[in-house]
Amino acid sequence: VNVSNTDANVIMGEDDSKKENQENAFFEFKTALELAQKIKDPIEEKKAARGLGASMQRQGKHREAIKYHSMVLSVSEREGEDSGNTEAYGAIADCYTELGDLEKAATFYDQYIARLQAD
């Protein structure tokens, strides 16, 4: 029993490295998102959503990533304050590119490019 437990740990340890760190990151951002929503802090809410989106992208989960990056846009709309939107448009377009949906990607890149010169 001891040996097989150790084996399991070795295998899990080998699975660690980048992916495990991504999962840790995911849970941290998830907690941050829930907390930000509870205390109604839209800036932190957007940061957490962006973090979740980036984490999903690194895991190759582009549909889920789009969901989280889009959350940034919704919070902006809800709050009437557009910080983080440029990056969100770019990231969503990146995801659609990875998914092979170049039409949608182009639409979001257009939004992204239109915002590049603002401060």
Binding site: T86, E87, G90, A93, D94, T97, E98, L102, E103, A105, A106, Y109, D110, Y112, I113, L116, Q117, D119
Partner: protein, 88 residues
């Protein structure tokens, strides 16, 4: 639409430079850097990259309505692929 993958790759190329240089900068600043400073540096790095990419990326989008021809847009794409080594 053919230019979309180039946009994707050029963004990734620039973002890698940005995050790597930003990290080095924050390391140099040490632990006593406050949030205000950290944010200003982050905005600086993003601002420079975004403004430099604006021209090239704009010239990769062809909406059929302006003076630019489709040929010119594709030439821009080929030049960017060459210059930033994005084909790989």
């Amino acid at each position: 639409l053919e230019t979309v993958p180039t946009i994707r790759k050029l963004r990734a190329y620039a973002e890698q430079i940005r995050t790597s240089d930003l990290e080095k900068c924050l390391e140099k600043m040490g632990d006593n850097v406050n949030n205000n400073t950290r944010k200003a540096v982050e905005v600086l790095s993003r601002g420079i990259v975004n403004k430099l990419l604006h021209g090239p990326l704009q010239h990769l989008r062809y909406d059929g309505s302006d003076d630019r021809t489709l040929d010119e847009t594709l030439e821009n794409m080929h030049a960017l692929n060459r210059m930033f080594n994005l084909e790989t």
